[in-house]
């Protein structure tokens, strides 16, 4: 037992070592289906989200394969135009609203944010469960709309097409509205959690970059999502009551819809990608055993992206008929958002300098992310330039661009995160060789799928086309072949990860030798994460300090809440009891 004197508050600290394969952990302290369905444990909710987003990823993926297969030949290959239009709409809507937006924040974020903060749970555990059920409810409503007539508007719901076409658009926008509230509540929860639930000693400069990225993401979620909600409500009411805000036939303005829609949907791109940035920072430092380079540059650039991301939505509308003045301002601001993103890329590269780099599978996925996201980002610069955008807008160039960012960037980062944290979530190790092979397959498959799309896009192939002119067939066929390779890669990952749960080797609490807080608890973690409130002494990237300094301290008396505990400046006397 030792005592740490600080000028602020007296805290007694005792160290303990994490166990692997503990008798009691979050999966066996409460058991049974009812315990799962009513759990307020952020880890179980995170796992339920993980299972759900994985399910919808595969559903959306099957839609993608159907779309690609149909495009093997011009006009009808095996499905009708109307069916094709519904399938690409569902592919987009499912991937965006049911997979990309909740994937990292709600699944991995839920699981690891409280662990990284040294908290027992998020600030509002019941609200967290409500978020999950709203997500499920929204998904069910969306499924009802598919069964009940389907929708063919594209995921962007542009008016007046969406307010006049047949099908179950009203049901679908209601489903997205509900999912939006799920997203908002997660954002509210995370912001409060990061502010109020940090363990003593965990000052802002010791906050993990993953937590910083979730903080930036949550800000976007709470500021942007409500505008989407009201906009979709207006579309629904336009169909039900003829409220004429957007439909010119009723006196409205369709371009106004686009403003409101993109006010959400452009920042939403950052809801999808910024948490991925957080994972990159965690994985790069862990597998290079190196302190992050430019901690503040990376942390603050996330906030900068979140802010500037709100100012650029009009770059989706350069040819929509908006005023040239607006196009100029939006184009200018669009280029500014490239700067903080570039800063991140450079800082990550610099982190590797003089590191001790181990090419384990999570890092391989991150390197995949690096190349693909770089291409995605730079083609974003191309599209931000108004003159080029006029030519490329709504062509396959745009399709390829956002798939490079969303799949090449975000999905690769998500997979890196899943592989990185898998041992902590499940207590098992997966087959590393298979993981590396799958990573390679996905990287190759991805490029075969989407590089040809850049080419046909700049040659003039418009998106959302069921039929196309002969000239583009070769590119479509290469792309289709690539999509099958990509599909095989994802199925393979699913196979070896699920297999590891049953037959995988038991994981030690910290198999990668990480300094981050979540690795200092048992594998599997206890139900309430920490048996005692931990006191944070070192930063999560202090790889220059020996591992044993990172063992958790516990606050023996005095809980430390509400104080800035300056433990790092006091002398430590770790002692066994």
């Amino acid at each position: 037992m030792s005592t740490e004197e600080t000028n602020l508050k007296k805290i007694q600290v005792q160290r303990y070592e994490p166990e692997s394969d503990p008798d009691q952990h979050y999966l066996n302290e409460e058991t049974g289906i009812w315990a799962w369905l009513t759990t307020v444990d952020h880890k179980k909710i995170g796992l339920m989200y993980l299972a759900s987003v994985t399910f919808f990823f595969f559903v959306g993926g099957i839609m993608a394969l159907l779309v690609r297969t149909e495009l093997w030949t011009p006009a009808k290959t095996f499905i009708e135009a109307n069916t094709y239009n519904q399938i690409f709409t569902l592919h987009g809507a499912i991937m965006v609203f049911l997979f990309l937006v909740p994937s990292v924040p709600a699944a991995l974020g839920n699981f690891f944010l409280p662990l990284q903060l040294g908290a027992k749970d998020v600030a509002f555990p019941r609200l967290n469960l409500l978020s999950y059920y709203l997500y499920v409810a929204g998904a069910l409503i969306a499924i009802v709309s598919i069964v009940n007539g389907g929708i063919d508007t594209g995921w962007t719901f542009y008016t007046p097409y969406s307010s006049t076409t047949g099908g179950a658009v009203t049901t679908m926008v209601f489903g997205v509205f509900v999912i939006g509230f799920s997203s908002i509540l997660t954002g509210v929860n995370f912001i409060t959690t990061i502010h109020k639930m940090r363990a003593p000693g965990l000052s802002w400069d010791k906050l993990s970059l993953f937590s910083w990225s979730l903080y930036a993401t949550s800000i976007i979620q709470i500021l942007a999502t409500p505008v989407l909600a009201i906009t979709l409500a207006l579309v629904g009411l336009e169909r039900l009551l003829g409220i004429g805000i957007f439909d010119p036939a009723l006196g409205g303005d369709p371009v106004l819809f686009q403003h409101f829609f993109w006010f959400y949907s452009h920042p939403a791109v950052y809801i999808m990608i910024v948490p991925g940035f957080g994972i990159v920072s965690e994985v790069i430092t862990t597998f290079s055993k190196k302190h992050i380079f430019g901690y503040w540059a990376i942390a603050l650039s996330s906030l900068a992206i979140a802010f500037i991301g709100f100012l650029v939505w009009g770059h989706h509308m350069f040819v929509s008929g908006q005023a040239s003045l607006a196009s100029m301002v939006f184009s200018f601001l669009t280029f500014l958002v490239g700067i903080p993103t570039g800063i991140k890329m450079f800082n990550w590269t610099a982190t590797l300098y003089k590191g001790s780099i181990k090419l384990a599978s999570p890092l391989l996925y991150i390197f995949g992310f690096f190349f693909l996201f770089l291409v995605g980002g730079l083609t974003g610069i191309v599209l931000g330039s108004i003159a080029l955008n006029v030519h490329l807008h709504d062509t396959y160039y745009v399709v390829a661009h956002f798939h490079f960012v969303m799949v090449g960037g975000m999905v690769m980062a998500f997979l890196a995160g899943v592989h990185y944290w898998w041992p902590k979530m499940t207590g098992r190790l997966y087959n590393e060789t298979l993981a590396k092979i799958a990573c390679g397959i996905i990287f190759v498959g991805f490029n075969v799928t989407f590089l040809p799309q850049f080419v046909m896009g700049s040659l003039g192939m418009p998106r959302r086309y069921f039929n196309y002119i002969e000239q583009f067939q070769v590119y479509h066929q290469i792309s289709t072949i690539g999509s099958y390779i990509l599909g095989i890669g994802f199925v393979m990952i699913f196979y070896y990860l699920v297999k590891s749960i049953y037959t995988g080797e038991k994981a030690s609490p910290n198999p990668w030798g990480s300094r981050a807080l979540e690795w200092q608890v048992n594998s599997l973690p206890p139900l309430h994460n920490f048996h005692h409130t931990p006191v944070i002494i070192n930063g999560p990237y202090d790889y220059h300090k020996p591992m044993d300094e990172f063992q958790l301290g516990l606050a023996e008396s005095g809980n430390g809440h509400g104080t800035e505990v300056d433990v790092s400046s006091t002398e430590e006397k770790p002692q066994a009891e």
């Binding site: 239009n85 542009y158 010119p248 280029f335 181990k358 730079l378 610069i381 709504d394 040659l459």
Partner: protein, 316 residues
């Protein structure tokens, strides 16, 4: 360079297309240099600093403000160049010269219609003179469409309830394809058209021949003209002539037969019924088909409607 251009870009057939292309290559090549550079450094680090033992200790390097400023400011300058350049080219594309020749464009599911100053009308074919700026004043009669000519590097959404404008100058006679690039439903991908660029004198002749628009060509029988009109006005996008099921009911075996309507009643498909269906498509909707057809009131004249009916009569 030209070979490279053909690989990634369609032929440049307007006076301004080359400006877009130069910028296109500038941004792509600078991007390529950056990608190769950054990935090269990454690969170099991975090889040079690969982990040799688990006990390795790495140095503490937390940040370097000079580097941060460098890699913020240089990209900033680069993107500002791209911004300014892009904006300048855009403004040239945007502002039509005062002497531009005007053609009116109507987008409608799923057909492009063009009207000329002397009343000539075409569907799916835009005839313009070579070497003269042409200004299109565009409007949609249903949902948003977008007028895109890859060869000219121009694109502009076509909105209901408002006019938008786009212009180009094609110096050489020839043909270019027009796509609709704003998703507009079932046959969105078939909503294409052709720009046909004539020599100046030839264009004047063409225009004079088509003045007023819409008379029956002398060399055609009414049913033949009807067939031609059905193609031109994109009727055949939704109504087949061979019995196959499309967005709308087939025309084969339609005339003189009973039709089951969505309100449960039946009607005989005679001249009056077909005329009404063309002018007021929502009045009697055939059972099992969506009520999506637009009215052709004020677009097709009586003579044309009669010709189409004659054509339908031949589809037994």
């Amino acid at each position: 360079m030209d070979a490279l251009n053909d690989l990634l870009l369609p032929p440049a057939k307007s006076t301004l297309a080359h400006q877009t292309d130069t910028l296109f290559w500038f941004v792509h090549l600078s991007g390529l240099v950056l990608t190769i550079g950054l990935i090269g450094v990454l690969i170099y680090f991975v090889i040079k600093y690969r982990r040799e033992s688990e006990d390795e200790v790495t140095p503490l390097i937390t940040h370097n403000n000079k580097l941060e400023v460098t890699w913020s400011v240089i990209p900033l300058i680069m993107v500002l160049i791209v911004f300014g350049w892009g904006y300048q080219v855009f403004m040239e594309q945007r502002v039509a010269p005062d002497d531009a020749y005007e053609v009116n464009v109507t987008g409608q599911k799923w057909i492009w219609q063009f009207t000329y100053e002397n009343g000539a009308r075409t569907n799916g074919e835009l005839h313009v003179p070579a070497g003269r700026p042409v200004k299109l004043i565009m409007n949609s009669s249903d949902v948003i469409h977008s007028f895109y000519v890859p060869d000219y590097r121009i694109k502009q959404d076509v909105l209901p309830g408002r006019y938008t404008e786009v212009w180009f100058n094609a110096p050489e006679p020839g043909e270019s394809i027009v796509f609709c690039t704003e998703y507009c439903g079932t046959s969105h991908s078939d909503m294409t058209a052709k720009v046909i660029v004539h020599e100046e004198g030839e264009f004047e002749n063409w225009l004079a021949d088509n003045a007023g628009g819409g008379g029956m060509p002398e060399d055609l029988a009414p049913a033949e003209w009807g067939e031609q009109l059905a193609q031109e006005w994109a009727c055949s996008t939704c109504h087949s002539a061979d019995g196959s099921d499309m967005t709308g009911p087939t025309w084969q075996g339609l005339f003189g037969h009973e039709v089951q309507l969505s309100d449960g009643s039946t009607v005989t498909a005679d001249e009056n019924y077909i005329r009404e269906s063309i002018l007021e498509p929502g009045a009697k909707v055939v059972d099992g088909y969506p009520n999506v057809m637009n009215t052709y009131q004020g677009q097709l004249n009586d003579e044309q409607i009669n010709a189409i009916i004659e054509y339908i009569k031949t589809l037994k």
